[in-house]
């Protein structure tokens, strides 16, 4: 059981803290010109954060208790190839489709 006071303290502090994290640069820097070195690095935020965010989910999925799952590795590769060469929607269909197919095929053995 979670104590009511604990819950509200945590939730309110989390709400404030999360907002401040999100507001940090966008709120303070606003329309100011950023230094060139910072602009140079900011170009790479998306390609720097997302692979690191999802790599552990692909290699050590919670659904398998952290065990490496060949079906998920192959599905991730399929999503990447289609996303790289064709389209976002195509990649999502390819990724989930390959996962289901691989689970079916590998499950048959």
């Amino acid at each position: 059981m979670i104590d009511t006071t604990t819950f509200w303290t945590v939730t309110i502090l989390m709400a404030i803290g999360t907002f401040l994290i999100r507001f940090s640069f966008l709120g303070i820097l606003g329309g100011r010109e950023l230094p060139a070195w910072l602009m140079l690095h900011l170009k790479y935020v998306a390609v720097a954060v997302f692979p690191a965010l999802i790599t552990p989910m692909v290699i050590w999925p919670d659904a398998t208790g952290g065990a490496i799952d060949p079906a998920r590795l192959i599905a991730a590769a399929a999503a990447f190839l289609i996303g790289w060469r064709f389209s976002v929607y195509g990649a999502i269909f390819a990724g989930m489709g390959t996962l289901y197919l691989m689970q079916f095929v590998l499950g048959a053995f």
């Binding site: 979670i2 604990t6 819950f7 509200w8 945590v10 939730t11 309110i12 502090l13 989390m14 803290g17 999360t18 907002f19 994290i21 999100r22 507001f23 940090s24 640069f25 966008l26 709120g27 820097l29 606003g30 329309g31 100011r32 950023l34 070195w37 602009m39 140079l40 690095h41 900011l42 170009k43 790479y44 935020v45 998306a46 390609v47 720097a48 997302f50 692979p51 690191a52 965010l53 999802i54 790599t55 552990p56 989910m57 692909v58 290699i59 919670d62 659904a63 998920r72 991730a76 999503a79 990447f80 996303g83 976002v88 929607y89 990649a91 999502i92 990724g95 989930m96 996962l99 689970q103």
Partner: protein, 241 residues
Amino acid sequence: MDRSTSAAFWRGLLDVLPFLLIVVPFAVLFGVVARDAGLNLFEAMSMSVLVIAGASQFTALALMQDQAPVLITVATALAVNLRMAMYSAALVPHVGKARLGTRALMSYLMVDQAFAVAVKKYEETPSMTLPEKLAYYFGCMSMLAPLWYLFSLIGALVGQAIPAELSLDFAMPVCFIALTAPLLRSAPHVVAAIVSVVMAVAFAWLPWNLGLLVAAALAMIAGAQTELYLNRKRAAQEVTV
């Protein structure tokens, strides 16, 4: 709203549709887990509305159930959200000139999916005006935020998660792979992504989700340094030619 901003709004609304595959099951699961943890409906919904950051909410619930101290719980949950400071910085060049209130609302609504979809759009379409960029972002979140609330509520009311056999846990990596792959259009982007993957594995042992932040920082530096290196090489060639 004039025609171009209203078009951008609808475009954003439609472009995040694939992400419902992540948001809907994740929200339902949060509702279920929150009720299982003993929260009432109002508490579960308050957390989803006030914090609006799924991964950190799960983290906090798990720690509170383990009777962890309040400060440890808050610090760990916030560490999960620290990556959003990078999103915040990366949005400055695009929407930094918006009004303060608008930027505050954008901050409240800053989730992985909206950032990913919006930045991809902004980079592909440099001709977008500020009002169009704002409309696009709010279009994305007009779809995602209400559904996050609604499906948290449904999960909390129904108490039944989406069956694990559907493997929708994998929708999250798949959607982000789908969005990131097309961004790899220059050598520095490819280098950054590779460093990001390798370092995420190398630093996976770090506590409090810090591996993600270390990997992301190193990857950004790698991308920037590769760009500088290529520029120097090009400049040197031009001199010799």
